[in-house]
């Protein structure tokens, strides 16, 4: 994979246009939906919502844990831990990624449906922005994967963006919850 850019196939970022466009549409759609859906009244108050919150906290933590698996397996796939990574690294990366993504979906649905895009404080604003960005970035990553002839930096950059966004989301929600409200099930 890493020698992709040095192959005779001319690497071009042009193949990223469509994935980036669709990813941008996802991000903007989520943001607009979250904003339109929010009442024009006062901003999100975390104490105001009940049972689903702990569910979300743990789903997000599961996704964050899998994201760490993603990071390590990605490094292994790119030969950072030795030239010949074991053959199960690829499937591990793909399936841990799928499960991580599927874990985030219920969280995002609850966030968008029940809470909406919020700008009450820095944490909620960062969380809202990262949440919209995450699904857009993930879309770009997924749509870029099957494409050939993309520059060598494409997948590390996109994967890194998705990973960073997810960890940021976890820090602004679950970690915040654990440290502010406590570790609850």
């Amino acid at each position: 994979m890493s020698d992709q850019s040095t192959r005779r196939v001319k690497a071009s970022a042009a193949g990223l246009y469509v994935p980036l466009l669709l990813g941008a549409i996802v991000t903007v759609t989520l943001g607009v939906y979250g904003s339109v859906h929010t009442p024009t009244g006062i901003a999100v108050n975390v104490a105001g919502f009940s049972g689903p919150q702990t569910v979300k906290v743990w789903l997000a933590s599961g996704a964050a844990l899998l994201a760490l698996v993603q990071l390590v397996s990605a490094f292994a796939m790119w030969g950072r831990f030795g030239a010949n990574p074991p053959s199960w690294i690829g499937p591990l990366h793909r399936w841990s990624g799928r499960f991580a993504f599927l874990l985030t979906v219920p969280v995002a649905v609850h966030c968008l449906y029940a809470l909406g895009f919020a700008t009450y404080d820095t944490r909620t604003l960062a969380h809202s922005l990262l949440g919209c960005f995450f699904f857009g970035a993930f879309t770009v990553k997924m749509l870029s994967l099957p494409k050939r002839g993309l520059p060598g930096w494409t997948l590390p950059l996109l994967g890194g963006a998705v990973f960073t966004a997810l960890i940021g989301l976890w820090l602004t929600s679950s970690f915040w919850y654990f440290t502010t409200i406590g570790v609850r099930f």
Binding site: P39, T40, G41, N45, A47, G48, R98, G116, M142, P146
Partner: protein
């Protein structure tokens, strides 16, 4: 398969989201799961009335069909999050006298009082704040308008220790008014106003109502009937 894998992943996520949203919609519009028995309110019907949007006018006809006893004086408490999650509301009714409190747990709060009878809620507050709505079938639905803002809500009946609490006192010559909503999951939302400056309320002990505000020990009492003038 390998090239389609990522696309399938995306579509699977999309499908999961669609299912969840559908379930959400039907839960919001239907009755949802049965609630702990309300104080004198009819038990929530388990059959979801999926075609009933939570608008006051339509809900009025629905509540007329509900097996409420409108002739009797109403005793009930409803509490929950307003639509969209921006604030929490509690309505406590004692013998038909209703007190409602809406707050965000940070600084925004509205107290209202009025009546609950014949399946209808009609409350007013300071500065022209109003609450209109309907109740029946273990839940209350309506609209609050205050400070140029509008909230809609559909909240379920709750039982003690969940409900609406209030404390009024004078602490070092400062007038203190606190309101707390305790939800069935044990979480609390409250605002304390000290000389008209609102701030997030410290948690009360729902069993005793004990709370410490600005170093002074107060007792928050469940709201029953007309609010004490303060």
């Amino acid at each position: 398969m390998k090239r389609n894998g990522p696309i399938i992943t995306l579509l699977a996520g999309l499908a999961l989201a669609a299912v969840l949203i559908t379930v959400n919609l039907s839960l919001t519009k239907g009755g949802g799961e049965p609630d702990p028995a309300g104080l004198g309110a009819a038990v929530a019907s388990a059959a979801p009335a999926a075609s009933t949007p939570p608008s006051p006018t339509v809900a009025a006809s629905a509540s007329a069909a509900a097996p409420d006893a409108p002739a009797e004086k109403v005793n009930a408490t409803w509490a929950g999050t307003v639509d969209g999650g921006g604030a929490t509301i509690a309505i406590a009714v004692t013998d038909g006298v209703a007190v409602a409190y809406l707050c965000d747990g940070k600084k925004a709060e509205v107290w209202l009082q009025g009546t609950a009878a014949d399946g209808k809620l009609a409350l007013t507050g300071k500065k022209g704040a109003t609450l209109t709505g309907t109740f029946g079938g273990g839940k209350a639905t309506g609209t609050v308008t205050a400070n140029g803002r509008k909230w809609t809500f559909t909240v379920k009946a709750v039982a003690k220790p969940s409900g609406l609490y209030r404390a009024t006192a004078t602490v070092r010559n400062a007038k203190v008014v606190g309101g707390w909503i305790v939800l069935p999951d044990g979480s609390q939302v409250g605002v304390v106003t000290v000389d008209d400056v609102p701030q997030p309320a410290p948690a009360i002990d729902p069993a005793t109502g004990a709370v410490t505000v600005d170093g002074a020990a107060l007792t928050a009492a469940p709201v029953t009937g007309v609010l004490a003038e303060n």
